[in-house]
């Protein structure tokens, strides 16, 4: 089965679940005065669940005619591309999200930028490290000191 049909199957399940909540559970605790109104909180979601289900089925059953278009990357030959690098970059983003608070902005950001360049094949440490440090410092100064949005600069064990 083509990837777009797999995705349509996932979206169909999502629409059915969304529809189940809209049709069967959302109105359970609706206040009496709300029940007298012509529009309920579930009205719009109910319409959307029907539309979403119908459209997912159109794609899943291949009812729409049109030539199969392969995007700029052919997902059937993923191993021909730099798949490992892409997965590592996504993993690095997750690690950044988890480390931002405990390790502080400056350390996490510098490590993210250095590790990102390293994963992509950069080995000039004398460029990578100063550029990353400078970027982390500048952005921190701009966001925290100029714009007043709190970003803990240092790890939690070194205080704020």
């Amino acid at each position: 089965m083509a990837l777009d049909r797999w995705i349509a199957l996932v979206l169909l399940s999502t629409c059915l679940l969304y529809g189940y909540v809209a049709w069967f559970t959302m109105d359970a605790n609706l206040a009496p005065f709300m029940q007298r109104k012509p529009v309920w909180p579930s009205s719009f979601p109910k319409i959307l669940s029907i539309l979403g289900t119908a459209l997912s089925l159109v794609i899943l059953l291949g009812l729409e005619k049109g030539e199969q278009v392969i995007g700029e990357i052919d997902h059937r030959r993923l191993t021909d591309y730099k798949l490992g690098q892409a997965i590592l970059m996504l993993a690095l983003m997750v690690a950044y999200a988890l480390c931002l608070r405990p390790l502080g902005f400056l350390g996490s950001t510098t490590a993210f930028l250095v590790a990102g360049s390293f994963i992509l094949g950069e080995r000039r440490w004398h460029v990578m490290i100063p550029v990353s440090l400078l970027t982390a410092g500048t952005i921190w100064y701009l966001v925290q000191e100029v714009l007043g949005i709190f970003l803990r600069p240092l790890p939690f064990f070194l205080g704020n």
Binding site: V39, F44, L90, M93, A97, L147
Partner: protein, 497 residues
């Protein structure tokens, strides 16, 4: 009016105020490039500085410069990195980013600068002439008409519904509309689809979704298929627009300056709807061969939303200055600044304090002009961002997507949500599902549902559609905009073309 213009010019052209407008434009442009920091946040940040000036005219001139600069800065990150930081610049990325990828980054930024200048300037002229009478027209628009406008805005998705793609584009729109229903709705005030999670009470963050659907998949695709963004064959620093291109975009800029301004006048409509509406209208009235170019790097597709969002920003000053009603989040903050400076906007502002009223209008002209002459020489340098080697540029793009999501919500969970949505965006892109309709649906969904529900409650059902001629008219326009390309294609086929 002439006397007022002279008073305004005298105030706006003082050395101090000129320095304010130049400083404001520069600050706005550079901070506006950071995803997640839209005009509203930047103006809010600048308010203490503006108030400390003590002079309402100088303060407003500074804030107007920041406002225009921030809008242009937002367009820059949309065009160069496909990272729209605010909803009003999403439509600019539809064609601006493909242009940048084709090696026409300089040209795209030049078109954006010129279109913004034209939109802002024509808007300021219209504001000067029509402000008093438009304020009463704006009040004729009720939720039913707003609902109609959202439907017209949704017709912009037609640009992404190519051969065999109609169901996919519609499904993405519905998915966006569904995502907009998550959280504590403003009208019903009850949590929906949150699964009991407190983090979802305020719904999904716009910046998170925009970064996850646009910038993140693009960056990961660049990792998968290595190429430097600047080596697409064109000269990225080249700013020149040919005579034919200028002739092509001139009518678009003319139409969208006027349309965008009038949309901006309506309280609550603003730059976002104006940009989508502008994109939809221009795409649907374009000849068939040009329609196919929309979404793939059309200069008209870039000029239309850029002009419309700037004209709308100017239009949003009409209800603020003449009625004291803030028509958008940004003008609400400006209203706060005015009140802090002991100025009460409203019908008497023009009579009691003409120097402030006219100085604001004159500062719009000057702000737009300064922005153009400051930015045109900077464009070659800004466009050079794309020439940074891939090994450095991609981690930077990913870092900025993370920062955009983090600044918007100040919550590390949002970063995990960004990666999760990003993976979904990548999968959808692999399978050729168009992603812009999802974001269009998400942005317009909340406003659409609120206005639909309000109209239903006021009229006790769907009768508002035929009982309000203006709503019926707008909805007919929406249907025509969707059907027009099909009718045109049928006529051409009948003629055997």
């Amino acid at each position: 009016m002439l006397e007022g213009i002279l008073i305004g010019l005298q105030t706006a052209l003082s050395v101090q105020n000129l320095a304010m407008v130049i400083g404001g434009c520069l600050i706005g442009t550079f901070i506006g490039m950071l995803p997640g920091l839209g005009p509203m946040s930047i103006i809010a940040i600048m308010i203490p500085i503006a108030i400390s000036l003590g002079d309402p005219s100088a303060a407003l001139i500074l804030l107007a410069g920041v406002y225009y600069g921030a809008i242009f800065g937002g367009s820059t990150s949309s065009i160069l990195l496909n990272a729209p930081g605010v909803a009003g610049t999403v439509a600019s990325s539809f064609d601006g980013y493909p242009m940048a990828m084709q090696g026409k980054a300089g040209k795209a930024l030049t078109i954006a600068a010129i279109a913004s200048f034209a939109g802002g300037t024509v808007g300021a002229i219209l504001l000067m002439i029509f402000a008093p009478m438009l304020s009463s027209v704006a009040l004729l628009f009720h939720s039913a008409e707003y609902f109609g406008l959202m439907v017209v805005g949704l017709s912009a998705i037609a640009a992404f519904a190519g051969n065999g793609q109609v169901a996919k584009a519609l499904l993405m729109t519905v998915l966006g509309l569904m995502m907009a229903t998550v959280g504590l709705g403003s009208l019903f005030n009850m949590p929906r689809f949150t699964g009991g999670m407190m983090e979802l009470q305020s719904g999904f963050g716009f910046v998170t979704l925009a970064m996850a659907m646009f910038a993140l998949p693009e960056a990961i695709f660049l990792v998968l298929k290595p190429k430097n963004m600047g080596d697409s064959g064109g000269e990225i620093k080249d700013l020149r627009i040919t005579r034919a291109e200028a002739r092509a975009i001139a009518p678009v800029i003319g139409r969208q300056s006027v349309q965008g301004f009038f949309i901006g006048v309506l309280p609550g409509a603003g730059a976002t709807i104006a940009s989508f509406l502008g994109y939809a209208v221009e795409r649907n009235i374009a000849p068939k061969h040009e329609q196919d170019e929309f979404g793939k790097g059309s200069i008209k597709g870039l000029a239309a939303p850029e002009t419309a969002n700037n004209a709308a920003c100017t239009g949003s000053f009409v209800p603020l200055l003449t009625l004291g009603i803030p028509g958008s989040g940004t003008t609400a903050i400006l209203l706060g600044a005015l009140i802090a400076l002991n100025v009460t906007p409203g019908p008497r502002l023009m009579i009691d304090e003409p120097q402030i009223f006219w100085a604001v209008i004159m500062s719009m002209f000057i702000g737009n002009f300064v922005l153009l002459i400051l930015n045109l020489p900077l464009i070659p340098y800004i466009a050079k961002v794309l020439a940074i080697p891939r090994n450095y540029l991609i981690p930077f793009i990913l870092f900025f997507t993370l920062m955009g999501a983090y600044i918007g919500q100040n919550n590390a969970t949002e970063l995990l949500l960004l990666v999760a949505f990003g993976v979904c965006g990548i999968a959808l892109k692999f399978a050729n599902f168009p992603l812009p309709p999802l974001l269009i649906g998400f942005i317009l969904g909340g406003m659409m549902e609120d206005n639909f529900a309000r109209s239903m409650q006021l009229y006790g059902g769907l009768s508002f559609i035929w009982e309000r001629p203006m709503t019926l008219g707008i909805l007919i326009v929406a249907v025509l905009l969707v059907l027009l390309p099909g009718i045109r294609a049928l006529r051409l086929r009948a003629k055997g073309v």
